[in-house]
């Protein structure tokens, strides 16, 4: 299976994630779309790593996953505390830095 197919699939998944961030107003779904984009990057990492016959790409995927886990934990905690203050997670309504 040629590298092009994996990279094109990765680009499509990334694009769907970008469209999701632009279209949806629900903060949790925007977060899921960010995960989608990170996963698309992971797919490109692994595909290119296989193509070059190296393991380094998979190590980077490991780091990306660790950062994604930290990001999700922090982000969801922020969403929960914002929801407690404002009773909404619609990003259009969350427009003030001062709660």
């Amino acid at each position: 299976m040629a590298l092009e197919y994996y990279l094109v699939l990765s680009a499509l998944l990334f694009t769907i994630g970008v469209i999701g961030v632009l279209v949806r107003r629900n903060a949790i779904i925007i977060f899921m779309c960010i995960e989608l984009m990170l996963n698309a990057a992971n797919l490109a990492f692994v595909a290119i790593s296989r193509n070059l016959g190296e393991t380094t790409g998979q190590v980077f995927v490991f780091f990306v996953m660790a950062v994604a886990a930290a990001e999700v934990a922090i982000g969801l905690a922020i969403i929960v505390s914002v929801f407690k203050h404002r009773q909404t997670i619609n990003v259009d309504e969350i427009n003030a830095l001062k709660g």
Binding site: M1, E4, S10, V23, C33, S49, V59
Partner: protein
């Protein structure tokens, strides 16, 4: 058409359908479950690429831990009643889709071009599987410092989350 191509098309189609479902379902629970489907399909793609360790970590960390966190928060906030209101207008939506299509064309262009650049390397490299032993050796020798920094990031995230939640409970009291 050999088995690898069939499996690639299968997993690729499932992951794309899952990804589209994530952004099109109204209710966040359905989006989260679609995201699980996408993650599993991507784990299948990783197995096809010979990255068994990454596939296992994908299922355990993403489809397991991270998605449980998402579902937990969705259920905690009880968002089903709130999710319906406030969709953006069709004009903005069309603009976003056009931007997305442009980005996709750009990405595919780069993907095809960069793939032809590395085609020489592909011819000589063996397309074998990567064992966990290889990854572990690389992780604890060449990338030891980034590995330790990663643990610091996780510690910082842990403390940050505790502080965020603790302040909330104090204000309520």
């Amino acid at each position: 058409m050999n088995a690898e191509q069939i499996l690639f098309i299968l997993f690729g189609a499932v992951s794309l359908i899952g990804a589209v479902s994530v952004i099109s379902f109204r209710h966040p629970i359905y989006s989260a479950l679609s995201l699980v489907v996408t993650f599993f399909a991507q784990a299948g793609l990783f197995v096809l690429l010979g990255a068994h360790f990454v596939a296992a970590v994908q299922v355990i960390v993403y489809a397991g831990a991270i998605m449980v966190l998402f579902l937990f928060v969705i259920m905690l906030l009880n968002l089903g009643t709130l999710s319906a209101k406030g969709p953006i207008g069709p004009k903005l939506k069309g603009f976003a889709v056009i931007l997305g299509i442009l980005l996709a064309i750009e990405g595919i262009y780069i993907a095809v071009n960069s793939a032809s650049d590395t085609a020489v390397a592909a011819a000589e490299s063996a397309t074998g599987t990567t064992t966990t032993y290889d990854i572990g050796k690389l992780l604890f020798s060449e990338y030891l410092l980034p590995f330790e920094v990663t643990s610091l990031i996780l510690l910082a995230a842990l403390i940050g989350v505790i502080v965020l939640v603790k302040r909330e409970s104090q204000e309520e009291n």
